[in-house]
Amino acid sequence: MKKLIQFSNIVKEFDGQIVLKGINLDIYENEFVTLLGPSGCGKTTLLRILGGFLEQNEGRVIFDNEEISKLPPYKRELNTVFQKYALFPHMNIYENIAFGLKIKKMSDDVIRQKVMTMLKLVNLEGYENRKIDQLSGGQQQRIAIARALVNEPKVLLLDEPLGALDLKLRKEMQIELKRIQQEVGITFIYVTHDQEEALTMSDKIVVMKDGEIQQVGTPTDIYNEPENEYVASFIGDSNIIEGSMSEDHLVKFDNHEYTCVDFGFKEEEIVDIVIRPEDIRMVGRNKGKLNGKVKSSLFKGVHNEIIVETQQGNKVDVTMTVSNKKPVFNEKAKEYISANSFYVDILEIENMNDDEVIARADAQAWLQDGEDYVSLAKVEYQVKSEEGTYPLTFKTKEGTEITVNIFVVKQKYIQDEKKRIGVAAFDFYKNIDELKEAVAIDTDLKTWADAVAWDLDTDEKIEITNVDYDFDVEDIKEGKYTISFSTRGREFKIHTIANAEEDKVVGLDFNPEDIHIMSKIGY
């Protein structure tokens, strides 16, 4: 195949912001090339530079062995299908398509013949006298394609042309576009952010991010052998795991070694491992390479998406003491008062003031009628920086009082030196009524226990994803309950037509060639 377009070291800046960071790319004759990336990755900018609507700050664009950077758009042998079609509203369909040919001063009968052929190509015969606003989005799109193709360009540029269409029409147009490209046999350069669109139509996909090309390859290459974590996560669903290469053909993650087909990495090199969800098979317990517990199963139409946890996250257990203490009533003043005992870390005790004590104990007093709050006039307690139980008394002006306990403890604290994660939480006291009033129980439990997880090295917060307990809030009784908080463990996403019950332990199996290893470049 002949090389048709060559971008060499294209750099583009907008107001001091670099949008393209030195793009090198070759495009050949008769190729369907897709520039794929999220918005702001520079794909449209690159297309507009090729179209002649923008000029690069550095680099060269070679078209058919000729440098075209200084050529105005109307002298370039390529045509564009614009994002919003850009059909001329003051002309009918025929005049729109004929526009380029009339500019070239072709004779009327030749123009008529060519326009009619194009209308046939895009399946809109008999529409030539319609006005633009009488057409649907999909039809306008086809006219825009016909208007560009009638000039017989060597390259057709398409800037997210299907973005404005609904899903069904988009699918139809994808097939239509591919057919047209094969029929006219010219190069199509297609810009999109839709990975599925790219996989369906392209001969070659160029994955871009932040003004740089991440990978160039056929759809199968890009899907099966993504070069880095970014490409893997952008194209299709994947399980991306950090691991290390023990030696060629042997990769290690979560303390186990697995055979793979990749080689050529340094020994003990940290790598990203990609396993596609559809490449993992669910088998019986102990029959696969890994065992795990089914966490969820979602129906996705053709397949089920099952999440299997093969390794638990870091966990800390706390005890919740549930009491059924009613508020204290003062007959004389017609006041109620209530408060909870609470636990406090030995290191925090010195910094505690009255406001914080009131908040921690959730202490409040209110009038019997009207529910008006009464202020707490006195907070009495004496604590030492020593583990132990200390009485705490709250009093109102009228002398209504309640006594609870402050338990000074060392906080429950778990450090995983290997994964460099810390998890901590407190035991706590709650009243039955408070529990029943809780709206989002998992979040409330996290708040009450002050459960946190963090990265030991960076001190960054890590989300606590699991809150496990075995009681039903709706009819909870007095007593002690264990609640465990844990971070996200190792989870595998699996696409399968089989189904699995939650909490069932299953085995997971995959082939060595389905483990894709990528170096961690740029991360």
């Binding site: 609507f53 109307y74 564009t80 919003k84 850009a86 059909l87 001329f88 003051h90 526009f99 380029g100």
Partner: protein, 274 residues
């Protein structure tokens, strides 16, 4: 919705009293003889016959239309390029220029027109400068030139604003598409930009032609007696002569001519777009 539609009622009353009634009165005056009592109305076509049988009146009418057409054409010639370049600028610069164009309109038209007398008169600014360089004095005041200059000066902002509005509304990708299809700048302008900005040009024409054809104080101030326009004629018959019947007839003729020319421009505009 019902509340809103009721809000329109006072306006309907207002329109009927202050717009519709006077117009009907003009029609009534134009078609009756003078000195009528309310009960003894005498209808007549004399007023119209008088207008069309006197060459003087016909000439005034033609002169008015001529000056209005010339003014409008000059306004397009100045206004279109100005609007075009403003629409090509970035938003900030464009907004400043539009502000500068609208700014003089905040000052009373009469004051601004009077200022021209100081500039154009025989011992005004221009003639002083010319004299300084040894040129002969040029007579500018009380000529057709001065009248047209005054009108263009007063009305050109309307043209610029209208054309600018339609140009800046235009989808920029249409120009890119035209370039992409092989049309150079000139071809793109003639085939895309110009036709798509025609609605702006048409409303600009309406906004310039109408006041120009019926203006009476600009020809009075800058044209003196030399340029008698239809507006002056109407003014004379209403205020100086007191012949309200004939004055009304001229007004009516004027109104019909204006309505007809508006209809024609609309028609031309539609024809251009089909």
């Amino acid at each position: 919705m019902k509340l809103f539609s009721r809000l329109v009622h006072p306006y309907v009353v207002w329109i009927s009293i202050f717009v519709l009634a006077p117009m009907l009165l003009i029609v009534l005056y134009a078609t009756t003889t003078s000195g009528n009592g309310t009960l003894t109305l005498q209808f007549t076509a004399d007023n119209f016959i008088r207008f069309f049988s006197d060459e003087l009146f016909i000439n005034v009418l033609i002169n008015s239309l001529e000056i209005a057409v010339i003014t409008t054409l000059i306004c397009i010639a100045i206004g279109y390029p100005a609007a075009y370049f403003i629409s090509k600028m970035n938003a900030k610069q464009g907004a400043i220029l539009i502000l500068l164009i609208t700014l003089p309109m905040l000052i009373n038209m009469l004051v601004r027109t009077n200022a021209w007398i100081g500039i154009l008169s025989d011992n005004g600014v221009i003639n002083n400068v010319l004299g300084f360089f040894g040129f002969e004095e040029v007579k500018m005041m009380y000529t057709r030139f001065a009248v047209i200059l005054g009108m263009v000066y007063n009305f050109v902002p309307f043209m610029i604003l209208q054309i600018h509005a339609s140009l800046s509304k235009m989808d920029k990708s249409l120009v890119e598409a035209s370039n992409d299809l092989g049309a150079n700048r000139m071809q793109t302008f003639l085939k895309i930009t110009l036709p798509l900005s025609m609605p702006g040009v048409i409303s600009g024409i309406t906004l310039v032609f109408l006041p120009a054809v019926s203006s009476f104080f600009i020809p009075k101030l800058l044209g003196g007696g030399s340029e008698l326009l239809i507006g002056n004629l109407i003014e004379t018959y209403f205020i100086t002569t007191g012949d309200w019947n004939f004055g009304s007839a001229i007004s009516l003729i004027m109104a019909i001519i204006i309505m007809f020319s508006m209809y024609l421009t609309k028609k031309v505009d539609k024809g251009g777009r089909d």
